[in-house]
């Protein structure tokens, strides 16, 4: 088994990290991003598999994961903020809130 980390940044261009465990609000998480190691203080609880911000993202700016835009910030997002459907809007489909098909 490979080394254990608490969060992962999937591409150097990303401005979000994904939690690999349930992370508590106020806790500090160290991730490798863009070839360097950064420590982020979380502003809220981040469940396993959910995302937090590595940088301030202005309203309307792209949220980047896998090195690609996964949507735009619908409000300004601060470092360490929880990033999900409440502050990101898809540019290719719905926000997903309808969630119908399966």
């Amino acid at each position: 088994m490979d080394r254990q980390e608490r969060a992962v940044v999937l591409n150097d261009k990303d401005n979000v990290a994904t939690a690999l465990a349930d992370l508590e609000a106020g806790s500090e998480v160290t991730v490798e991003a863009g070839g360097r190691t950064v420590t982020i203080k979380l502003t809220s609880r981040i469940p396993f598999g959910h995302k937090f911000s590595l940088a301030r993202i202005e309203r309307g700016a792209p949220v980047t994961k896998y090195g690609e835009a996964i949507g735009n910030a619908s409000t300004a997002i601060d470092i360490g903020d929880y990033v999900h459907v409440h502050n990101v809007i898809s540019t290719r489909g719905s926000t997903g809130r309808e969630g119908a098909d399966r």
Binding site: D2, V8, V9, L20, E32, R92, G96, G99
Partner: protein, 385 residues
Amino acid sequence: MSFLGYARADGSVGVRNYIGVISTVACANDVAFWIAQQIKGTAPFLHQAGCCQLMPDIEMATRTLSALGRNPNLAGVLLVSLGCEGTDVDRLEKEIAASGKPVRRVLIQKAGATVALNEGLLFAQELVSKASEIRVQEFDDSHLVIGVKCGGSDTTSGLASNPAVGAACDLVVDNGGTCIFGETTEFLGAEHILVRRAVNKEVADKLLKIVADMEKRARASGGDMRGGNPTAGNIAGGLTSIEEKSLGAIVKSGTRPIQDVYDYGVPVKGKGLFVVDSPGREPEFLSGLAAAGAQICLFSTGLGVPQGFPFMPVIKVTGNPLTFQRLPDHIDVLVGMTGGKGTGLRETGERLYREVLAVGSGKQTKAEILGYGNFPGLYTLGPII
């Protein structure tokens, strides 16, 4: 690096040496199944297509069965025909034989299933005997043709097993081999990103067209594939948008340029990364990969799925340690959540690549040992009539 395989007359290289017992229509399945049960060294291909379908689907069934018969893992083919099926059995026999493989055929409507069975048993036995004389040879890894797939996905899929399979896919391409992916459904919402990897505008246009056509077919059946995604379950798991969901799936194809887009049921020619227009459901998708000429499938899963395929080894890869623990009879490889960069992912990709070469050289996958995968399917676009 190299692997041990079987040279075929058409220049392709097999990693298994089966005689395919191919049913040409749903009604012939039983006889094909009986023969394959009895004769060691055979692999059945059973399905529900081949009759009472619209012409485009009948054509797709014929061309896919023909392509399956030419898969390099088969040393020869026994066609089990009913007689009045829609599939063009003469064409099947001709095309498979033209690839240099021995082909035999039995006909149920000639004198009944028991006679067809008896004839088929003898044909299959002869074909297996001949195939068993083919010796394995060493081939360099540019002869690899790998398919990739994800299914039974969970949160770990997009974070661990899909990036790991993608890293292995890049290695296949970098070493001169061929890698095939598909599941057109999963491109939805990220097709604008995928097209940037197309080698030219023609290929980019083909990618956009297969996505648009799929959405059109869904709408014609009353479904909205874009609006329902991500699903409530996806959102609970942390997926925010359809782009994120699709990117997490597409990452299993690695990062190399897309050379071309193929229709379902057509053998892929050439080296590098290719797309086959195909549905995501396992039975039909795995048949699509085998028809494209894949020797081995790397299958990424989160929750764990059992699927194999009659004559194409399927290597199951998970990033979920609980799934690996729960399903030791199905999952071949556990990978860690090393992320999409740095040495961790590279090492994981290399580990998967070595597993591909080992399975290529004869190492049995969990699904092969278990004998799981006897019920594949053929993709159909229209109704059964």
